[in-house]
Amino acid sequence: MESMLSLLSLGADGWGDELLIGAWVTVRLALATLPFGLVLGLAVALAKNSGQPSLVLAGNIYTTIFRGLPELLTLFLVYYGGQIVVQKLVGLFSDTYVEVNGFLAGMVALGFVFSAFSSEAFLGAFKAISRGQNEAGHALGLSTRQTFRLIILPQLIRLTLPALSNLWLVLLKETSLVSVIAYDELLRKTFIAVGVTKQPLLFFTVALLIYLVLSLISSTGLDAIDRRVRRGERRVA
């Protein structure tokens, strides 16, 4: 028991600090992916809601691809494919060797997946917000952008929050895949610790618990946001 605690302690002997750094990297990766995935998802949803057949089709193709591919495969496609593309682009000007950063590849791949799913949530919300809201905004002399920012967006947040909360929790778990391309997030750090200490059971259990704590913190925070955006709703007893 004592040896286990010393293995998990902070500092030079223990792996506690390594795991915590890994957890921090995991959180950073998820946080960096979130805005990227949200903006892209919103753009795709706007395309699918545009009523312009070509734009709708383009949006649907995007969703079909990134919702259907395994996340791990998307990650590899972005990581290795990105490597090839970037190398070709750089190769036009010089012959330096470039390496795609694991963080960036993870962020882009997970962002694609996140946006494919979130666009569906946004689209559902668009359909739920009646056309009259837009028209009323225009009748008040608001520009299209103002109508979106002041009238549609607040409702959009409220309507999509449950689905987006779910997607955030999924994203948090999916960051673990980036360990496969040797990026030092929580799971990879755990893996290294296991390699040195030969204590897989202890360390992977601790890693699971850290993920659990992260999602617990997230759900608590998301519940608070949910209560806040719903404060205007009448409660039905």
């Binding site: 057949p53 734009l55 395994p70 791990l72 495969l73 673990s176 893996f191 059971l201």
Partner: protein, 276 residues
């Protein structure tokens, strides 16, 4: 303040439409170019030797993937029934335990769970050998099945619980007032209706499992993803990933369409499908 008049709607009618159309054309052109590039890359660059060597491996991997998905769905489905029942149990301890099980497996990454089972089992090797169980844990495939089953049971239990609770109470009450025994009510009245509610989330779960099963490749199982990674490691030919992507995509799309058909067929007496 500008005069509110015809200006605003007129402006929208002029600028909004062509911009959307231009964007639509642009993105469709982009997709078509990418698609053509992909088709060209996979056919003109076609290396018969490479293809002949690795494509059969990919198909073998596909079979392993299907086995993984089928086995873990069936076993997870069986395990999910007691978990769901425990979850709605009136015994606080039992329902708490089931809740914790579900929360643990749904709140943590499948990859980490797979690592725990696969590498954790190795730590107990002498013990498993004593118990004559080592043959099971020695094979990565079995470890993956175990991890996937435990994971899937947690998700399916939640679907099952939600669907059972979504069946209106009146159904149970009506059955009781007819003097139908509790067990018969559960299996013949509540369950069939719950199954229909569970149909859609269950279909989604299969698709998620197909995608998630790629994780098995990380612990040396040669499923479709594993075969692809091996082929790439040996040949450094990126095409193999594109082939794998096409196979995964068609698998998911076919399943999605078939499932839609099944759902339409099974719910034709309620008319759910037409309103969807």
């Amino acid at each position: 303040m500008t005069v509110i008049g015809e200006a605003a709607p007129a402006k929208r009618a002029q600028t909004g439409f062509p911009a959307a159309r231009l964007a639509g054309w642009f993105f469709m052109t982009l997709w078509i170019v990418l698609g053509a590039e992909l088709a060209w890359k996979l056919t003109s660059d076609f290396d018969a030797e490479f293809f002949g060597k690795y494509f059969p491996k990919l198909l073998e991997g596909l079979v392993v993937t299907l086995e993984l998905v089928a086995l873990s769905m069936v076993l997870g489905g069986l395990l999910s029934i007691p978990v769901a029942l425990a979850r709605v149990s009136r015994n606080r301890l039992v329902s708490r335990l089931a809740f914790f099980y579900v929360y643990l497996f749904r709140g943590t990454p499948l990859l980490a769970q797979t690592f725990l089972v696969y590498y954790g089992a190795g730590q107990f090797r002498p013990w498993f050998e004593d118990m004559n169980l080592w043959w099971f844990f020695r094979d990565a495939f079995n470890c993956v099945i175990l991890a996937f089953t435990l994971n899937e049971a947690a998700y399916l239990a939640e679907i099952l619980r939600g669907s059972i609770q979504a069946v209106p109470r009146g159904q149970t009450e009506a059955a009781q007032s007819l003097g139908i025994p509790k067990a018969v009510t559960f299996w013949k009245v509540v369950m069939p209706q719950a199954m229909i509610i569970a149909l859609r989330p269950f279909g989604n779960e299969i698709i998620l499992m197909i995608k998630a099963s790629a994780v098995a490749s990380v612990v040396t199982v040669f499923d479709l993803m594993g075969a692809t990674r091996l082929a790439f490691a040996r040949s450094f030919n990126f095409d193999i990933y594109l082939w794998a992507a096409l196979i995964y995509l068609s698998m998911v799309e076919v399943l999605r369409r078939v499932w839609d058909r099944i759902e339409t067929r099974l719910t034709r007496h309620i008319g759910y499908a037409s309103s969807k």
